[in-house]
């Protein structure tokens, strides 16, 4: 099941790596696909696709309860991913790894379970001005229910968090801080270590939305000392519908269950139900077995390529794109700072992002246009949306040059 690339110890070669991603060979509108929408979802290597097919063709069975061979094989593979995730983020225990549908569900789990238990009238939750809607709305819902207040760390003109303002927002009323590691719309890498330390000094917990950082940056939950970390498999080469909530064990143990059903129980009578141990008490119902299993080869792929190689290639792409895009007259990069990863977001004077997106698609180039599910951030910059190109290590400098060329043509026609 392993691909050629995984079996070699060669130095990173993007053209070699690309062979592991079959979709990169397809054509769109008569052009070779250029996929620059990696912040929305990454493409999948053959090993991940093979794992899905292998599961369904060889050992499809429900996990945990069966005594037959297929159920045992499925359970072993399903649980092996939990160990791979534990190592990937350096969690202290496998019980701290909860399977969810994705980052959104992970955050909702904490908001509904921990938030409902711990938030009260007058308490405060701090989020940042560059959060994805999925790290705003769950907190708004629980704050409204509990009479707590949502506070927002402002974003400066360069698309960075204003840490001095953050310090001022923190108080004994702060119960939780929820921020992303990397902004999906701008690519800004936030100083989460400092954010966590400052929150802890006030006795507040911290949830990190790691959706955009998991594939690109080193994430060590013990070194960071974050209380919760949420991320999705599909943004890091894995399948959709599979996500992770990491939580410190003592926190997860004390939290009430989020969803009732099979798997999460120890014993059920009509009088009383007792709940299963971690991690299963948060995993009600038949889980997403196939996608959980296929997440493991995705993690293995990233480990084999190495995050250092990934960052090196993506930094090269980001620098090249930033430099080339500035050649376009009237183009303004939103979030023009020097601690970014793999995302470049921009607007062009006199041209609507949607028009640019359509014309680039006509050349086989996939970028994202719009508000990127961060409407408050767009309001901060007084723009309806941006054009966002987001890169992965399998993208090339040549692809960026083709995008810039297509952009120049598009702007000429549209103006």
């Amino acid at each position: 099941m392993q691909t050629a690339t995984l079996n070699t110890n060669k130095a990173f070669d993007v053209h070699f790596v690309r062979k592991d991603f079959p979709i990169l060979n397809r054509e769109v509108k008569g052009h070779r696909l250029i996929y620059f929408d990696n912040a929305a979802t990454s493409q999948k290597p053959q090993s991940v696709i093979d794992a899905l097919v292998h599961y369904y063709t060889q050992y499809n069975a429900n996990v945990h309860r069966g005594i037959h061979s297929l159920a045992e094989e499925a359970t072993a593979a399903f649980e092996a991913t939990r160990d791979a995730v534990k190592h990937f983020i350096n969690a202290a225990a496998r019980e701290e790894i909860i399977y969810t549908r994705g980052t959104t569900e992970s955050i909702n789990l904490v908001a509904y379970s921990w938030g409902r238990q711990h938030l009260a009238q007058g308490d405060e939750v701090i989020v940042s001005g560059m959060e994805h809607h999925s790290d705003i709305v769950p907190w708004q819902i629980v704050c409204e229910e509990k009479g707590a207040q949502l506070k927002v760390i402002p974003v400066n003109e360069q698309g960075e968090l204003e840490l001095e303002e953050y310090r001022k927002l923190l108080s004994s009323r702060t119960k939780l801080v929820a921020v992303n590691h990397v902004s999906n719309a701008l690519g800004t890498v936030n100083p989460i270590q400092e954010i966590i330390q400052l929150a802890h000094a006030q006795g507040a917990l911290v949830l990190i939305d790691g959706a955009q950082s998991a594939m690109h940056l080193d994430v060590d939950v013990q070194a960071l000392d974050c209380d919760f970390l949420a991320f999705s498999a599909h943004k890091m080469l894995g399948p959709t519908g599979m996500g992770i909530l990491y939580g410190k064990k003592h926190l997860l143990e004390s939290m009430p269950v989020f969803m009732g059903g099979g798997e999460m129980i120890k014993e059920v009578t009509f009088e009383k139900t007792t709940y299963n141990e971690l991690p299963y008490k948060f995993e009600a119902g038949t889980p997403n077995i196939a996608d959980a299993i296929a997440f493991k080869p995705a993690i293995e792929y990233i480990n084999t390529i190495g995050k250092e190689n990934i960052r090196k290639q993506e930094d090269l792409l980001l620098q090249h794109a930033t430099q080339r895009l500035k050649e376009i007259e009237g183009l303004r990069i939103i979030g023009d700072n020097d601690h970014k990863v793999s995302v470049v977001s921009f607007v062009i004077d006199g041209v609507h992002p949607q028009d640019v997106g359509i014309l680039l698609d006509n050349k086989g180039i996939a970028v994202r246009t719009g508000h990127h599910c961060v409407e408050p951030l767009m309001q901060r910059f007084c723009i309806p949306g941006t054009i966002r190109a987001s890169f992965a290590f399998y993208n090339t400098v040549e692809e960026i040059d083709l995008m810039v060329e297509a952009l120049q043509k598009a702007v000429k026609i549209l103006r």
Binding site: K29, G30, Q354, N362, T369
Partner: protein, 148 residues
């Protein structure tokens, strides 16, 4: 109002089906999508902008990424449309919608097949029709008709 009168004159003698067929014919002249888009962008640039007074919330048809303003007037048993968008390709597409529908009776509009969108987009090799999302702005024939 000049645009409205112009619309009416153009469509007085032609049925919706005839206008649709005319547009399909025009598009058959283009050999590739670059040319089709350039034509649509040109239509968008030519569509007279909607007066600012009409660009209010009640006339907004909110799409995912761009905004369309649609104003309909009912006169002598016929409906006349004016529209605008902040995105030029969408504006070009709505210009075609206006050309097809404006100046017709509510009955004619309700019964319009509107399959020219399929026909002009169907030579796409991947099988997807780039114009399908024009309907993503969510106006059904009924809404176009009774939203006046």
């Amino acid at each position: 109002m000049a645009a409205l009168e112009n619309n009416r004159r153009m469509t007085e003698t032609q049925s919706i089906e005839q206008i649709e067929a005319e547009i399909v014919d025009e598009f058959s002249l283009f050999e590739n999508w670059d040319d089709k888009y350039e034509y649509i962008i040109d239509l968008g640039k030519k569509l007279p902008p909607l007066a600012e007074e009409h660009k209010k919330d009640e006339n907004k048809v909110k799409g995912c990424q761009s905004t369309v303003w649609l104003v309909a007037d009912y006169k002598d048993g016929k409906i006349f449309y004016q529209a605008d968008s902040d995105a030029i390709i969408v504006k070009g597409l709505i210009s075609m919608l206006i050309r097809v529908l404006s100046g017709h009776t509510p009955d004619e509009i309700l019964n319009a097949k509107m399959d020219f969108i399929n026909k002009i987009g169907n030579d796409e090799p991947s099988g997807s029709n780039p114009f399908q999302w024009i309907t993503g702005h969510g106006k059904t024939n009924e809404e176009l008709c009774f939203g006046i």
